[in-house]
């Protein structure tokens, strides 16, 4: 069992891990940059150590400093969370070389999954379906030769390039030759290299990922799927489990593929295998995230497995404690970002002068901030995750809507209203959530649906507040109730 774990992260995921440590009886050590001093995660730690230096490279990405702190403070293990150093095989190796336990898979597994080409080859060998595609370096004849096995529609991409140059979508076989020639010409002009890569074009696909857990005793299981198709600026905002696109059969097939992927790299701990699922129910390996995932709570709510605690257990050499897959009901997570959704989701900053989170049945808040905290431009704008569980998808959407209506954040612009409208959006309600959904629904950008009544009411409220100097003494005096000394009663007897 682990005894003292350094959490090499910040914000809400550091809070999540430190709480799991506290519950497991493991001492949690937080590290924090100077500008994170006094934040919630440092408060939840048993020991909080300030990092020297400024900027990410000198602080949260500073492998040497973090390792030194771990050793100086008698830690036996390091949990990297997500982002930062979580998928750095060299750091995992350094941690192990220092005699500490790395809460995650082996450096080899990280490396194999971290390189897209290696991962693709490894997966093909393991029998996991990958997006059909072939590298072509033998000219136009070879393109024509491999195309039938790739299938239509297909995408021609310059092997050497990027940025759309040399990229051509081909929907019908008769267009292939002319398009391939054009693509190769473009590629040659742009990169001096006319090799192209032929890949199946997957339109209207869903991003669906499978959670896996593997312990040191050869047990590798999957915990069902998460659908994370709703994205803006390529970042997920709305995640759910189960996915409306999966039936039991497809879930089992994808779960088996995910376990095969994990076994292929001798995976240990918690990991996520991402797939693209086409409208016809074909699924293809995208990549494996060799760490805990932002959206892990939806799996926890649906399966009843505490993923972070299982990570700590597995790293400590114990068997995972969970039994067979038992999915129940429906969970949704939304990510609360400090950003202005009406302004192309541009990040926002400010002080959280009011931060009133919803409570009640089926509501879970994983937050890195609390009222009074400042949101600065130094870090990721994700402030918190709001997760709901309900017996059915419909009830979960209704519950999320209710919870978001209760959520008050003043002092920093957030995407609460955008998330709230998602809950009622017909495409979301129908489960027609594809990765291009936000662009599809709001091609010219989103703006809130707001009646003139609300706009006028807001103006009236501002007028009333300004006229009466509202809230100037909120909470700060507490003198409006006369409270007798609480000690006057302590020496009395009231049997």
């Amino acid at each position: 069992m682990l005894k003292r774990t350094l959490v090499a992260n910040r914000g809400e995921i550091a809070c999540r891990i430190l709480r799991a440590c506290r519950e497991a009886g493991i001492e949690g050590v937080a590290i924090h940059a100077a500008n994170d001093s006094g934040t919630l995660f440092t408060e939840l730690a048993d020991i909080a150590i300030q990092l020297t230096g400024e900027g990410l490279a000198e602080t949260y990405l500073n492998q040497n400093q973090i390792l030194e702190i771990a050793i100086e403070n008698g830690c036996d293990s390091i949990h990297p969370g997500f982002g930062f150093l979580s998928e750095r095989a060299d750091f995992a190796q350094a941690v192990m070389d220092a005699g500490l336990i790395w809460v995650g898979p082996s450096p080899e597994a990280i490396t194999k999954m971290g390189d897209k080409m290696t991962a693709r080859i490894t997966m093909k060998k393991a029998g996991v379906p990958v997006i059909p595609g072939e590298e072509v370096d033998g000219g136009i004849e070879e393109v024509l030769a491999v195309a039938p096995s790739v299938g239509y529609p297909l995408l021609l991409k310059a092997t050497a390039g990027g940025g759309g140059k040399g990229m051509r979508a081909v929907h019908k076989e008769e267009d292939l030759e002319s398009e391939a020639k054009a693509a190769m010409r473009e590629a040659l002009n742009a990169f001096g290299d006319d090799r192209v890569y032929v890949e199946r074009l997957l339109t209207g696909s869903r991003h669906i990922e499978i959670q896996v857990l593997a312990d040191k005793y050869g047990r590798t299981i999957h915990l069902g799927e998460r659908e994370c198709s709703v994205q803006r600026r390529h970042q997920k905002v709305f995640e759910e489990s189960p996915s409306v696109a999966l039936d039991a059969e497809l879930r089992e097939a994808m779960g088996e593929a995910a376990c095969a992927a994990a076994r292929a790299v001798d995976y240990e701990g918690a990991g996520t295998v991402e797939f693209l699922v086409t409208p016809t129910g074909d699924f293809f390996f995208l990549e494996m995230n060799t760490r805990i995932q932002v959206e892990h709570p939806v799996t926890e709510m649906v399966t009843g497995v505490d993923l972070v605690r299982e990570q700590l257990r597995i790293a400590g050499g114990e068997r995972m404690s969970c039994g067979d897959l038992n999915m129940r009901g429906h969970a949704i997570e939304v990510r609360l970002y400090a950003e202005d959704p009406a302004n192309n989701f541009l990040p926002a900053i400010g002080q959280l002068k009011r931060f009133v989170a919803p409570t009640g049945p089926g509501v879970r808040l994983d937050t890195g901030v609390r009222e009074g905290d400042a949101v600065t431009p130094d870090y990721d704008p994700m402030l918190a995750k709001l997760i709901v569980w309900a017996p059915s998808r419909n009830e979960a959407l209704q519950r999320m809507g209710r919870a978001l209506d209760e959520f008050v954040v003043l002092g920093c612009t957030t995407n609460i209203r955008f998330l709230r409208e998602l809950c009622d959006n017909p495409d979301v309600v129908d489960g027609w959530t594809t990765t291009d959904m936000i662009e599809r629904l709001w091609p010219d950008g989103w703006s809130p649906e707001m009646s003139g009544l609300i706009a006028d009411a807001g103006l009236l409220i501002a007028t009333a507040c300004e006229s009466t100097n509202h809230g100037k003494v909120r909470i700060s005096t507490g003198g409006d109730m006369s409270i007798a000394s609480p000690f006057s009663m302590i020496n009395r007897r009231f049997p």
């Binding site: 006369s482 409270i483 000394s485 006057s488 009231f494 049997p495």
Partner: protein
């Protein structure tokens, strides 16, 4: 600086160093946020003042410290029996001049939907009764007084 606590009056001899206060290895850092340091470990503290009382939350404990101004006389007079909370007098069980013994019920109050007995803390004679059945009383009001 002297405080009244559930253990009686207490005072601590703290060394002040800027915004930090130190006493026998315990350091309290003041500022926007309050932190306490013991053996190099920092712990978040929450404190707020209500009336004359500091409410302190530290390491899972909630504590109260009433500020005593230097030279002020305590208003807590042992011979008076104070209402433990606001409520209504349901019954007065004794009369002026009656001899009562410690533990004897003197009055019954209703508060928080429950009945509470007001009990003599010591033997004595009832000197004054300030309220009658049906009266509303404020918290801390002297209900009756006993002579020793």
């Amino acid at each position: 600086m002297e405080f009244k606590t559930s253990d009686g009056r207490r005072e601590i001899d703290a060394h002040r160093d800027g915004s930090s206060f130190i006493h026998e290895g315990v350091i309290v850092h003041t500022g926007q946020e309050l932190w306490m340091e013991i053996d190099g470990r920092k712990h978040k503290v929450t404190a707020t003042k209500i009336g004359d009382v500091w409410w302190v939350h530290v390491l899972g404990h909630t504590l109260q410290y009433e500020v005593i101004e230097a030279g002020a006389v305590s208003s807590d007079d042992d011979s008076g029996l104070l209402a433990p909370m606001p409520g209504k007098i349901l019954d007065v069980l004794v009369e002026v001049g009656q001899t009562v013994s410690a533990g004897e019920a003197l009055m019954i109050m209703e508060a928080m939907k429950m009945e509470h007995k007001i009990v003599a803390g010591n033997d004595g004679v009832v000197e004054t009764i300030h309220y009658k059945t049906g009266d509303q009383v404020a918290q801390g009001a002297e209900l009756l007084s006993l002579s020793d």
